[in-house]
Assembly symmetry: C2
Homo-oligomer: 240 residues x 2
């Protein structure tokens, strides 16, 4: 069962210029698995759909359409190849344009008078999963790796985007060492992704702290007593 | 004197859709200061120039032109408003397309047989400065702030992009609390930026470790003896 009762609607957003890419292959496997499990899946292939990622002015008919797709989803999957340790401009611009103020964050709450964000944004009640393929070696994206821990590396997406807009951030599904892999390995990667997706509606999200007075002060820094002495992403998680 | 002897060539790249933006105002102040100090400055206003940030295929005449601008520069300034804790898609796509493999990184070194990157990429010898404007409160971007330490927040740009391609990464020039500021405050911010730029060629860059066997193992993780016990960005800096 999804977080929103019986509905199991997923929006799968992918951004890769080639239709014969590993991204496309894994997307097809992932979407098929979700559908086999009873999910209704809306597939947004941003390159194929010709999305314009350049924000010039707010709004636009295409932005409204993407917002409707988001609102219909219980699960949002963002799938992309890792370019410069982040999403391709195509996907970054989809976020820039679609996740508008008043829609995805800073949604006025008439009861409290606050603008809703961080665990309580306009997309609250949804889960978000990043599915990422990287040429990097597995060890290079690790706590002591040259690119650092995966949750630190994806901090701006996981905490600054997913959680900021109210979505429960799942641990990224990161696939490394993708250069020069053969068909057998592609099959294995697809099977592992499908297995992950089989429990995507019940796995525990990253337990980021909500932006409430219990944890944060007026400058939006942690109270000294919260995660005392800690810095970095770990300081913003509920202790396990 | 610049790092490359007597030459003082700067490339100032900015990405904001409006010509009456704070970004544009601060860019004009910054460029004027550099020119007054004897720098030759090439200004790349990506929106005004109509750069296409969507990578479809590698290369293209526009990419070659941008690469020539980079190669001519001793100092590269990337200026942008902070959108979703990163650069706008327009600037992300400029990096996606222009910082090509074989040009900016993985440049073959016939002597060692290695592909040059991390402090030794195709852009080695240059300094890189991010000038960023954000609506966030100052305290929220701090070691205990909800968005974390500035060098962690910009890790993918500072270490994963600047340093990866060989450029010496300067501490970001981050300007917070920009919503609703008045003309006097804009003037003050411009003066502070100009002062920073006055010593941009002699300030100490972030002392990231080079990717050599002295520091990293074959999986590109730190040797246990290097920054023993540390994780995060701090582990990849030379001890002060």
């Amino acid at each position: 069962m999804g977080e929103r009762g019986e509905s199991r609607n997923a929006l799968w957003v992918s951004a890769h210029p080639r239709s014969d890419s590993l991204t496309a292959t894994l997307r097809d496997v992932g979407v098929a698995r979700l559908r086999a499990d009873g999910w209704s899946v809306d597939v947004a292939d941003l390159y194929a759909e010709g999305f314009d990622p350049v924000l010039v002015e707010e709004g636009g008919a295409d932005v409204r359409a993407e917002q409707r797709r988001l609102l219909a989803a219980d699960l949002v999957v963002l799938q992309f190849p890792l370019w410069w340790y982040g999403p391709p401009a195509m996907l970054k611009g989809w976020i820039d344009r679609v996740f508008e103020r008043g829609f995805a964050y800073d949604v006025p709450d008439p009861t409290s008078g606050r603008n809703r964000k961080y665990g309580d944004g306009g997309l609250a009640g949804r889960r978000a999963l990043a599915v990422v393929t990287a040429g990097d070696r597995a060890g290079s994206i690790s706590p002591r790796g040259i690119s650092g821990d995966v949750e630190d590396l994806f901090w701006t997406l996981l905490h600054g985007t997913f959680w900021y807009t109210g979505m429960a951030a799942l641990a990224p599904h990161l696939i490394t060492d993708v250069h020069g892999i053969d068909a057998e390995e592609v099959h294995r990667l697809g099977a592992a992704l499908a297995e992950r997706l089989g429990t995507v509606d019940v796995e525990e999200p990253i337990p980021y702290l909500p932006m409430t007075d219990d944890f944060y002060d007026h400058s939006i820094a942690l109270h000294p007593s919260v995660a005392a002495g800690l810095t970095g992403a770990a300081a913003h998680r509920r202790p396990s």
